[in-house]
Amino acid sequence: MSRTAFLNARLLDPASGLDEKGALLVEDGKIADLGPRLFNDGVPEGVESVDCGGHVLSPGLIDMHVYTGEPGNEHRETLGSATQAAAAGGVTTIIVMPNTSPVIDDVALVDFIKRRARDTGLVNVHPMAALTKDLKGEQMSEMGLLKEAGAVAFTDADRPLTDARLMRRAMAYSTYLNTLIVNHAAEPSLTEGGVMNEGELASRLGLSGIHRLAETMMIERDLRIVEMTGARYHVPQVSTAESVEIIRKAKRRGLKVTCGASACHLTLNENDVGNYLTFCKLDPPLRAEDDRRAVVEGVADGTVDVIVSAHDPQDAETKRLPFAQSAFGAVGLETLLPAALSLVHNGDLTLGQALGALTFQPADLLDLEAGRLAAGRPADLTLIDMNVPWVLDRYKLKSKSKNSPYDERRLQGRVLRTLVNGKTVYVPDED
């Protein structure tokens, strides 16, 4: 039996509200015990001990929005490299999107992802499966069989499902399986050709805009169908103040709706596009400062349930292009935690709010065991130095792709150790 004691830790469990000095015991990959008085009389023989130096010991982060390139675009990211980036970012579970090549719309491909992740990955990997076959938006996928195989939710990834009749049937069908339906909120006829937030800045830069309406309209339509079918529905990334308000009201009406926001949308705004910086070209686009603030408030009041990285590896071929021609997306697994902590440092969120949206809240949405510091739970843990300042050098990222909007930015807070099922999968290199 392998036993490890984590001593002198600031135990932080957002689910229970626990935040106090103490120790935690890991036994055979599970959390066996924890508390302020544990090991006060010393650590028994045969138990390895780790001094946490008073730093925050949190449940490992769960990132429910990650794109990898495997299968199909392994030059951008493999499941192996994505999990290395995750481990370095304190992320112990990643949910990968189905828009690979081939698309994850078949039981055999869910098996493939799970097997490759087990053989080559450092952290837990669960796939979302396609909501429609081949992401074509024409026929619903085999939700029942895919769920049994291990798909944790259903989405057409970055493609919105526009056909209202199909959405109605897919949502109705999902109810008896109790699966989560995730739809990228962007009405394609309104986003087509757009490359950044519609507004003064886009006009000055001479770039075509994507109006907020593209997002709010799709959410409102979907909510009507949710109301009718009783489905569980999740907006993967909200970017506008109005989207947050719409979802806040829908939750008050008792609809089973949840939403996420990316760390980028919580910490950056359209001005970061600046001089045509393609690493800040995101889908949904970075919006105005008022929108950013409203999304942060959404996290604070619980309207926004999860914070995601929306990790989307793109290489020079797809990013070193004129802004309009470059691909959307930014890597984010290794900056998810420091970006979220910046909101804690400047007083917008409490540590519990920020980590809650990164741990038990996504776990509850996806019905995962991880995400809590409690006896019997998997020992997926992240030890965090809240305060250490550092500057991001994108070439030091573990991810195969380096398209980070935080390149050369000053960040505060870093991962000191990441454990998955009790096994250390990351400690920082000696600088």
Partner: protein, 327 residues
């Protein structure tokens, strides 16, 4: 007991049989009693009767059907009627005026009994208002298929001795099924408990108001039922439109021995046919001679249709209709 002995007990004061809706329990019961006598008769060497002697029966099928049409044909012939089949290619027939034109044409031929199947709900009732003879609904759209429900009831009653108090699970494409609707109506009228088992996409809105219990999990739906009634799923409804695929449907809603184990040990398996083996029903289950009454249903079909034709013919006017009659 012969048909003549029961004839005095027959309670069926209707001109047409357009649906189960509106029928009283004693009317259904006496039709089934009459049908029982025809089951016996159909097992004799001489199956012929003359109660419809001189009558003309037209089978007017706007939708292709082999078994229902031949069942109606055989029923009419065994009762001594002159039977004519008119299969109308659905593509050449339009709704509205054309259907009424067809009725006028038929009226001129002076039929006594008209057995009609049509792809549109309500079309048979529309036709019935325009013809002078008795009309039997052989299935209209997703509305009703009364003779199917009656033959199912006869099959159950002969096997179980009763309908009242039985629990019946109707499984599959309830949304598009006229068989399901007629069976729900009949079984409820006769005091059975009805469950429907289907994914939410194959259930019509408000079905619970028809007096059924809804199950999306087939194992729970089949728990302790007396009768498992499977419905046919049209293949075109299966590839991602109403359900994702054949294999997912069979996995979750196909009747196999494992799911059937939830039902009572002596539960009967029924299917209106034609079966899609490996889609809604496992071959092994369909062919299980101890449980499956699927072939018996076909036999009961002829007897029930004889009873219906016999009953309706008794309400026909005996005086000949003059030219221009039957407005």
């Amino acid at each position: 007991m012969s048909a003549d002995e029961t004839s005095s007990g027959l309670i069926f004061p209707h001109r047409h049989l357009l649906g189960i809706e509106g029928l009283l329990p004693q009317e259904i019961g006496s039709l089934l009693d009459l049908a029982d006598t025809y089951v016996d008769q159909n097992r004799q060497t001489n199956k012929k009767k003359s109660v419809l002697s001189g009558r003309t029966q037209i089978n007017l099928f706007f939708e292709n059907s082999t078994r229902t049409q031949s069942s109606f044909e055989l029923a009419g012939k065994r009762l001594g009627a002159d039977v004519m089949n008119m299969s109308v290619a659905s593509s050449s027939i339009k709704k509205g005026e054309t259907l009424i034109d067809t009725a006028q044409t038929l009226n001129a031929m002076h039929p006594d009994l008209l057995c009609v199947r049509h792809g549109d709900s309500g079309a048979v009732a529309l036709l019935a208002r325009k013809v002078g003879c008795a009309v039997v609904n052989g299935g209209d759209g997703s509305h009703e298929h009364p003779t199917q429900a009656l033959l199912d009831a006869l099959t159950i009653r002969r096997r179980k001795g009763r309908l009242e108090g039985l629990t019946v699970a109707i499984c599959g494409d309830i949304l598009h099924s006229r068989v399901a609707r007629s069976n729900i109506l009949l079984l409820n009228t006769m005091g059975a408990r009805v469950r429907v088992v289907a994914p939410p996409t194959l259930l019509p809105a408000g079905i619970e108001r028809m007096g059924v219990e809804i199950f999306h999990d087939m194992r729970k739906g089949l728990k302790d039922v007396d009768i498992v009634m499977m419905l046919r799923l049209q293949l075109e409804r299966m590839n991602g439109s109403f359900v994702p695929s054949v294999r997912e449907y069979f996995h979750l809603f196909g009747l196999d021995h494992e799911k059937l184990a939830e039902a009572k040990p002596d539960a009967l398996i029924m299917h209106p046919g034609p079966m899609n083996r490996g889609v809604e029903i496992d071959s092994e289950v369909a062919d299980d001679i101890n449980r499956s009454v699927i072939r018996e249903q076909v036999e009961m079909g002829v007897a029930v249709r004889m009873a219906v034709l016999d009953a309706l013919s008794r309400n026909l006017p005996n005086t000949p209709i003059l030219n221009g009659g039957g407005k």
